[in-house]
């Protein structure tokens, strides 16, 4: 009966049991060169800080205008509500008599 061969850790060695496709590393390096070339930002790099500042200013103006419009609408709404409130406190007959007296005068 054949004895099963005992596999020991000592026999493993430290050689890696992996391979790569032919010319893999040459091709990889060339591929990375291409990817970097695409990612490179050309001449306008120095303009970036100014572009950020301009974008921030536009953002502030846009938000400011929106806030001011909302405030104006609120004021208008408040004025209309106040007018309606005042009218609701006055009797309808009194309003009619007022306008009639204006006509006769």
């Amino acid at each position: 009966m054949e004895n099963k061969k005992h596999i020991s850790f000592d026999l493993a060695g430290n050689k890696l049991p992996f391979t790569v496709p032919e010319d893999y590393f040459e091709k990889f390096a060339l591929n990375m060169d291409t990817q970097i070339a695409v990612k490179q930002v050309p001449v306008f790099h120095f303009m970036r800080p100014w572009m950020y500042a301009a974008a921030m200013l536009l953002g502030v103006l846009f938000i400011g205008k929106g806030t001011y419009n909302a405030y104006q609408n609120q004021q208008l709404s408040n004025a209309e509500n106040y007018e309606l409130y005042v009218l609701s406190q006055v009797d309808e007959d009194d309003i009619i008599n007022y306008y009639l007296s204006e006509e006769t005068n």
Binding site: I7, F9, L11, A12, L16, M32
Partner: protein, 182 residues
């Protein structure tokens, strides 16, 4: 930092020379980083993806590299983080646990075109896969690459003492695996 690394660092900080310096770095470190990644992910295709991600991340993060560590250490750190992120994302995509993922990796390894190990080497890879991820990293870096504990400390951010203990335990586990399965 040696002269080559110092020259490369200067190149990276110069807008006109940045691309060519980086290209040189790719050629200088790609193999070392590839095998570092490959030992963890096992598959060539996965290693290729992670290696690309590593270099792209490094390129995009060049302005953040202050030169307070060696360039090689910095690249190893990025490669290690990208590898661990890749493995975690893979588990999430496949809805597998670490154990299931290891079984899957082992199955793929045995049928992989780019695996040419013998019976003993296959058993070693099986044994390594039983280790927790971080311990696997430590074992691989010490056993296959003979990276010093001090270099490992810089890359992994773990103390030398903890790394030595981790490696010692890993070896014991692997020896036990061989005794039980060899």
């Amino acid at each position: 930092m040696n002269q080559t690394e110092a020259e490369l660092l200067l190149g990276l900080k110069n807008e006109q020379k940045k691309a060519s310096a980086f290209s040189e770095i790719v050629r200088l470190y790609q193999e070392r980083l590839y095998w570092h990644i490959r030992k963890m992910v096992l598959s060539h295709d996965d290693a290729n993806d992670v290696l690309q991600n590593t270099f792209i991340k490094a390129w995009n993060g060049l302005e953040g590299f202050r030169g307070d560590s060696q360039i090689s250490t910095w690249f190893y750190k990025i490669a290690t983080n990208e590898t661990l992120t890749f493995l975690a994302n893979k588990r999430q995509r496949n809805h597998t646990s670490m154990d299931d993922d290891e079984k899957l990796m082992l199955q793929n390894l045995q049928s992989d075109t780019y695996f040419d190990g013998d019976e003993v080497q296959l058993m070693l890879q099986k044994a390594i896969l039983t280790l927790p991820e971080k311990q696997r990293l430590v074992f691989n870096m010490k056993y296959f690459d003979d990276i010093t504990y001090e270099q490992m400390e810089a890359i992994l951010g773990t103390s030398v003492g903890a790394l030595k203990a981790s490696y010692h335990i890993a070896v014991k586990k692997i020896e036990k695996y061989f005794e039980q399965n060899g």
